[in-house]
Symmetry: C2
Subunit: 201 residues, 2 copies
């Protein structure tokens, strides 16, 4: 059985939990409290030298890090990852967009706001982070105005990856009022079979 | 023929040029001066709504963005991308690590330092960025102490992706003196056939 090292408030971890549930794959959840430094212990660093969750341990003991790499690994040969070479690359395009343009703005501001911030140092970066987050949402809105799902006409792991922090963006102060296509897309995702809520498991 | 929209000083673009050359694929280079806003024109935004280079245009006119997604697309079915499911996911693990932990620190500081910075605002973030960059280099050093290439015993696009900004890290003030495994790895890369220098093409 898979073993998932995870911190429940993490949207990056949430992606994996959503996908495991969507694929009906069972797993052991090992909670790692990153706020208490549990992802930087000598023991954990042996599993992931980068000291981060989520981390997926396979049955043979091998470990795989980086949430979006784990998504691709698990989705391979399922309907959630297209077989077509260009469509598959488009899934990756969205996953890299998520880690570079979306998460460092939207997830980071949310983390600040839900963990006693913003501090003075964070305040100095706040307007740039908010602008970056809205710019990422603009790109998504544009795409989702034209089609139901990010990559093509079917739901893929790209939708799971972008949903994770978009659906909690309001916790960082992002207002989705002007993003109707994103709001409709999130409603479509919630209505899917085997959609699991962040507090589940 | 492929068409590559690129800005020559970009390490993200350099990755693609290295790979195209390694695979002996010819392409038209369309230079886009991001400093003059050429990646944010109405015309360019039609090709990439996210307004960034590098951008690969296929023969049929379709465009693919995100440097690391382009690497995977081009490397598919070549020796530079393993076929094994876990090894392929490990390539992705390094590519996501590159975009989240390496590039936002090492490439961003390099950009500041080579473009008239650091400004007062950049100075406030500098120590965190330097620490983040060295932490990324630590993870690479650890891996490359045990083996010749990042993913396994063969050279992959993960090595190309991480090489791009590591080999110019010194331009941002990063000192690789204490990273002998990384320095040896870079020497191995430079000695490979069809390795192209950043100023080439």
């Amino acid at each position: 059985m898979y073993r998932l090292y995870d911190f429940l408030p993490s949207g990056n971890g949430y992606k994996i939990r959503l996908l495991l549930n969507a694929l009906d794959l069972s797993y052991d959840l090992i909670e790692v409290d990153i706020l208490k430094g549990e992802s930087r212990t000598e023991e954990f660093l042996k599993l992931n030298a980068n000291g981060r969750i989520p981390l997926l341990q396979l049955e043979n003991g091998e470990c795989l890090a980086e949430s979006n790499a784990i998504l691709i690994y698990l989705a391979e040969n399922t309907p959630l990852l297209p077989e077509d070479r260009l469509d598959k690359a488009r899934v990756l395009q969205w996953l890299f967009f998520e880690q570079y343009n979306h998460e460092p703005n939207i997830a980071v501001v949310r983390f600040w706001m839900t963990h006693g911030g913003p501090t003075e140092e964070q305040k100095a970066q706040l307007s740039a982070k908010m602008a970056g987050g809205y710019a990422a949402l603009d790109v998504m809105e544009k795409r989702l105005t034209d089609q139901n799902w990010l990559v093509s006409d079917t739901f893929t792991v790209a939708d799971i990856a972008l949903y994770a922090y978009t659906h909690v963006a309001h916790e960082g102060g992002f207002d989705l009022e002007d993003y109707p296509a994103i709001r409709n897309w999130m409603e479509r995702i919630v209505k899917r079979d085997r959609h699991v809520l962040i507090t589940d498991h």
